[in-house]
Symmetry: C2
Subunit: 254 residues, 2 copies
DNA sequence: GGTGACCCTTTCACTGAGCGGAAGCAGCCT
DNA sequence: AGGCTGCTTCCGCTCAGTGAAAGGGTCACC
């Protein structure tokens, strides 16, 4: 910036991005002062920059004075490539799974030490689900997370096992037990959770592979695993095979 | 900005946004010079700003030297509110439609004089479809577009009728005929197209209303309307009613 | 109706961040 | 070798950007 800045070296653009990235899953609407606080900017500076972001169509100001991400940013965001290909290929298979079981169906990839949810089909049933598309959750407490962790590089595994957060009373937080479970995931080809992320929700998940690498995971959330664990695993594996075939058909993805 | 700019009055942030918005449906990957050209910036300036956008996690540089929207921007884009509520409410009904018919199902709103596609479930059948989520198409050549146009303010209608672009040999480009069709849409409660946007694709669409206003449109794309037009219209209307009920249940939307 | 807490908005003098022409570099044609 | 296109770096000029300070508006609670 110019003149008497308190943090020389930082640029206008980086501050603008800090304002945009101040929004997250649990902060979809922010007031000016919240924005300034979260982006680490003085209030008048935030005021001016936010004004420009609104003028430029990146943010919208609600009547109440709260700011939200604008539709136009949603549109450009959808142009992000990596996920798009995988999501479009997986969509029909996810639809089949959803139609057959009426459960919540998830497509996720690993982003560092977190699961990133790429797609979700919500079940009609009243199973509580923590994930939302674009949201990140810990690897060790979700079905898709365990699948991805089981096939992650060693440094990610040790990093994750180093800080196992607790979400419910059933969350597994002993590294040794997780290692044991990961071994079983690799052997059996699927992972399960029982109320480890959300009470009242269990999950099953399988890997999606291409070229010998695990690139994503496909999972489902159900109220209980007692009855039809096998049926769900088979359905997931068939769907995952279908996605793999589509992926391989198109050559190495973007 | 500072110093000897060629366009005084424009700000760094607005230039940064111009770079982001240089991406669109048909330009998902851009080289530095394309970005500079599309954003209207001198090349060295674009070079510097794009570098900052990459450092800030808004863009990613591919090995080939092409830039694409980064995953992080996809994530914040998903936080845009207006659409999210409607999409989530409509999703289960769209799934039902899709399961029952196996056709492509669309959810769209009007954005100025264009249809903006909020959601799409792709049919397995090989019907060519032009729309993608986040994409904009003309109002007069699509089923959902005609529905939205039929319930749009007068100025939008006259504006749209003033420049009726042609997409295929079947596109209706005479204002009088479109007016006639819009009248019929309002009377019958549904709109149709026959290969007007894409050859080999027909469509049916119905409005989604809340509080007496048409806020969106629900549509389907099929190879032909001959056989089961009535069946499709009924299915769509049932689904649209369901969405309306959900909308009304939650009070005035976000 | 006073007081305090919270927002948001505007002002303004100082200055270094931003600018972009020019030049250099690398690849790829003919 | 010469021309073309596209990327990167340099560097001196200068105005866009900065943020403390002050102003205004709206609640709620005493």
């Amino acid at each position: 910036m110019a003149g008497n800045t308190s943090t020389p070296g930082s640029t206008v653009l980086s501050r603008g991005l800090a304002l945009l990235f101040a929004f997250d899953d649990t902060h979809r609407r922010l007031t000016l002062s919240e924005l300034a606080r979260r982006a680490g900017l003085p209030l008048p500076t935030a005021h001016r920059l936010v004004g420009e972001l609104v003028a430029g169509g990146a943010l919208v100001r609600r009547p109440g004075g709260q700011y939200v991400i604008a539709r136009r940013l949603w549109q450009v965001g959808l142009l992000a490539p990596a996920e798009t290909g995988l999501r479009e290929l997986a969509a029909p298979f996810m639809n089949d799974l959803h139609a057959a079981t009426r459960a919540t169906v998830h497509l996720a990839v690993r982003e560092q030490s977190h699961v990133l949810y790429l797609e979700r089909l919500s079940g009609r049933a009243s199973v509580p689900v923590a994930s939302a598309v674009g949201a990140r959750l810990p690897l060790h407490a979700t079905g898709v997370g365990k699948v991805l962790l089981a096939h992650a590089p060693d440094d990610v595994v040790t990093d994750t096992l180093g800080r196992l957060s607790r979400a419910t009373a059933h969350t597994v937080t002993q590294p040794a037990r997780i290692r044991e479970q990961l071994e079983r995931v690799r052997r059996d080809g699927y992972a399960t959770t029982v109320e480890e992320m959300t009470l009242g929700a269990c999950s099953v998940a399988v890997p999606i592979t291409t070229g010998g690498r695990v690139v994503a995971a496909l999972g489902m959330v159900v109220p209980s695993l007692e009855r039809d664990r096998t049926r769900l695993v088979v359905a997931l594996q068939v769907a995952a095979q279908g996605v793999r075939r589509s992926l391989d058909g198109l050559g190495p993805g973007p």
